[in-house]
C-alpha cells in the first residue's frame, strides 16, 4: 500500500484473495516486506479515523514546540497497521485474537515505515489453534514498533 507524495489519494490494499489455511503455515514462515510512505496526510487521516485528536498527530507547529520533529503516528494507528499487515497476508477470513505492540522511536511524517513479519509459533489457547506472529516496523530512525499478533486460520479451505 502506498500513499503518493501528494498524499491526496490512498491506494487501498485489495484483499480479494483467499485465506490461508492452518496447515499451510508453519513457524518460521516469513511475511512479505511492506513499505508505507508516511505522508502528513496519512498521519492526520489515520489519527482522525481513530478519533485521536491530540495535536501532536495533526499540528506540526505544536508538535515541534513540544519537542517532536514533526507530527507522528498515533498508537491506535500503529496497532491497526500491525493488524492489517498480518490480515493482508493471511486473507480476509483470518481471525485476529490479539495485537500487542511495543513502541520504539516515533514514526514522523515524511518517513517510510517498513514492516517485516514472521510466524513465531503455534499455540493452543482458549481451545483454539492460534498462530503467534511477530511484526517489526522500522522507520528511518530505527525500530518504531515490535508487535505480536495472535491469529486463527481456518483448518480447511472454505
Amino acid at each position: 500500500m502506498l500513499a503518493p507524495p501528494n498524499g491526496r489519494e490512498m491506494i487501498m490494499t485489495v484483499v480479494a484473495g483467499r485465506t490461508l489455511t492452518a496447515p499451510e503455515v508453519v513457524p518460521g514462515t516469513a511475511l512479505p516486506e511492506e513499505r508505507i510512505e508516511v505522508s502528513p496526510t496519512f498521519v492526520v487521516s489515520t489519527a482522525i479515523a481513530t478519533r485521536d485528536f491530540q495535536d501532536v498527530h495533526h499540528d506540526r507547529d505544536l508538535a515541534v514546540a513540544k519537542g517532536s520533529e514533526d507530527i507522528f503516528l498515533n498508537i491506535l494507528t500503529t496497532t491497526g497497521l500491525v493488524q492489517r499487515y498480518v490480515t493482508d497476508w493471511a486473507g480476509p477470513e483470518a481471525l485476529v485474537r490479539g495485537v500487542s505492540v511495543k513502541l520504539g522511536v516515533p514514526c514522523y511524517a515524511h518517513d517510510t515505515l517498513t514492516l517485516f513479519g514472521q510466524v513465531l509459533e503455534q499455540v493452543e489457547e482458549s481451545s483454539e489453534n492460534r498462530l503467534v506472529l511477530e511484526v517489526l516496523g522500522r522507520c528511518g530512525r530505527g525500530e518504531h514498533v515490535r508487535g505480536t499478533v495472535r491469529l486463527v486460520l481456518p483448518e480447511v479451505e472454505s
Binding site: 518460521g28 516469513a30 512479505p32 516486506e33 517485516f116 514472521q118
Partner: protein
Amino acid sequence: MSGVSGIASIAGIGATEFSKESGRTELQLAAEATRTALDDAGLDPSEVDGMVTFTMDTNTETAVARELGMGELSFFSRVHYGGGAACATVQQAAMAVTTGMAEVVVCYRAFNERSGQRFGQVQPAVAGAATSAGVDNSWSYPLGLGTPGAQVAMFARRYMHTFGATSEDFGRVAVTDRKHAATNPNAWFYQRPITLAEHQDSKWITEPLHLLDCCQESDGGVAIVVTSTERARDLPHPPAVVQAAAQGSGSDQFTMTSYYRDDLTGLPEMGLVGRQLWQQAGLGPQDVQVGILYDHFTPFVLVQLEELGFCGRGEARDFIADGAVELDGRLPINTHGGQLGEAYIHGMNGITEGVRQVRGTAVNQVDEAHNVLVTAGTGVPTSGLVLSAE
C-alpha cells in the same frame, strides 16, 4: 612455507544481495551465489568437482549441484562449529586441490538468518539435544545464558576486569566497521556511520555489550571458487593465492562457553590458528596489510589482534584507539564493514573481501594489499587464511 601454501587459489567470488528478508529459499540463495562466483571465475558449473560448506548450512551439496546443473562430484565435505567453519571451507578446498582429490571446488554458505531462523534469539532446542553438544549446552542455556551475545559478554566482562578495557574500547571497533560500511554500497549499513556516543547510548543487549557491539542478522549467500593457482592464472581475475589456511581448537574447548580454562581473556584456538598461518606462509603480522577479523561481537576483535600477534596482551585497546585499524592505519580491518556493517554471512563475506583486497578491487582499497589475513568465528573452534597476490 609448508603444506598447501601457494598451491591453491581463489579464482572466483559471488554473493547475493544482503538483506533482512530475501524472499526466497536458502537453496536459491546458495545457487545464485554459486552461479555468480562461477561466472566471476569464468568457469562452467560442469567444471566443478568439489563442494564444501558448513554443517549448519541447510542446503546439501547435491541440492546446490543439481540447481547449477553440475555433473559428477569427487569431493564434498562439511565443517562444524558455526562461523568457525568459514575459512576452513577454503582450507578443505585447498587441501582437495593440492592432493588432487578435486580440481574446482565451490565453498558456499547461504541462509535466511534474519527472516528465518535467527541466531540472535534463544534457541531452546540446542540444549535439549541428545548429543554431546546438547549436554555441553545444558551447562549454560538452562541457567539463563542462551544467546551468543550473552555468552561472549561473559568473556568480555572478564577481559575488561583484567586489562581495564572499557565499553568505549569495544565501541571503537563498531565505529570503524560502520565507517567502512558507510562507503560500501553492498553493505546493509551503507551511508549509515555511527559515532562512539551512539554506541554508548545504544540499548543493552547483555551487559557489558550494547546493541551496537553486536553484529546484524542477515539473509544472503556467498560462494567462493577454489582451484589450483596454475589454473587460476588462466582465468579472468588474478589469483588470490591461499598462502596459508589453518583450523584451531584449544584445550578444554567448548562451543561459545569455554569458561573453565585458567584464563578467560584469550582465544587460544585463534592463537593456534595464527601460529600455523605464520608458519605456513613464512610471514608474520608485520607482513600483512589488511585484516578481516570476524566481528560477530566487538570484544573478540580486540582479543584476536592480541592472539594473532598484532599487539601485546591487553594492548589492543591502545592499538585501536591509536588509529591502527583505520584505512590509513597500520592494519586496516574489515574494510567492507565487517559483519557489524556489511552483513552477517557467517564470515564468508569476509573471505570475499579479502579476495577483493588482493585483486585491488575493494571499495575501500588499501594500497599495496599484498597479504590479507582473514579469520573465522570466535569463541568456537575456528579457522583462518592468509590470501596473497602473486
